[in-house]
Symmetry: C2
Subunit: 182 residues, 2 copies
Amino acid sequence: MANEKKIDCVILGLLSHEDLTGYEIKKRMDTTLKYFWSASYGSIYPALNDLVARGLATKREDMGSRRNKLIYTITDDGRDYLKKWLTLPVEKDELRYETLLKLFFGNEQGIENALSHIESFGKKIEKELPYLLHAETLLNNCLNENTAHKYYLLTVMFGIKTYRAYLEWCQDAQKLLEDNGG
Amino acid sequence: MANEKKIDCVILGLLSHEDLTGYEIKKRMDTTLKYFWSASYGSIYPALNDLVARGLATKREDMGSRRNKLIYTITDDGRDYLKKWLTLPVEKDELRYETLLKLFFGNEQGIENALSHIESFGKKIEKELPYLLHAETLLNNCLNENTAHKYYLLTVMFGIKTYRAYLEWCQDAQKLLEDNGG
DNA sequence: TTCTAATATATCATATTGATATATTTTACT
DNA sequence: AGTAAAATATATCAATATGATATATTAGAA
């Protein structure tokens, strides 16, 4: 049981919470998980077919609508597979920030350009932080309703801590460039 | 001039500092850049050939050794390409942390498992932080030698800020799970 | 001298993205 | 009631990247 594809594990994880369509899985990725994971339709739909073929999920058509809606459910084997993966050591935590790449090579364009990238970065973070703070409040208020909530809260807390560190860094970085300018 | 492949930009960025072989480029990736970017041989070598074909870099054999060593140099066109890319807005900053994924779905395995992933994560960060602190000291001591140094320092400062935030989060996360356990 | 680690280039199956095509259904507006 | 726009939903594909591996040379240690 090696070589677990991450996309399989994420999908099974989401299906362990509730039955979902491929489209809904993508939405979860783009809202809840986007702070630490992402995936495209081009990986989600093939993975769903594959999970069904391997007996880790089942597929049914939604009879309640005329729409071509395919709802996926995790099987017992799928849940075992997910549980097993959860115990395996983490293989890779990767940060891939184009902003830092542009700053690292920043000498080629100079200070104004670097400052503008730092400003854009800071604005993006400032815009997203309120959503994390809101999520933190909500989760703190319903922590005892469902044991799963504290695990969601963990990831939200991570986002808040790092985003605040990012904003502090923006200030330090601006200061360095301005004091050390020309 | 749209659709710049990131691998092309990173390689040109490294070549803007000094002439390098593909192997040396990979080493830079795995040491200096690894905190915010990565790339494999499978993307580096084809990209180098492509850059030469497009006139953005030149290739020469190292005559000083019998080894099959190919040294790459950035051209004026390559430098223009890099400079242009540096002014374009950042397209994507992405964090992809398997640790957070396993924690998000952590309810399926429980608290002990989650705590063990947090502990591993914390140890990994504690191990890497000294290298960043060392780099910070070195760069601060030679900031006026080369204008490029302050740009390197910017990325090191980012690493230190975020790694310290990670360690704080580890403590908060452990506390939450232990207080809220069972 | 011989073994190991580092240097160096290269390829390839597998995996993923990002963009796009297609079609239906719901919502908002007139 | 009609219709335009937005959201829902599945799917595919070229371009790209990874991770593993093959191959060979050279430097340094024992």
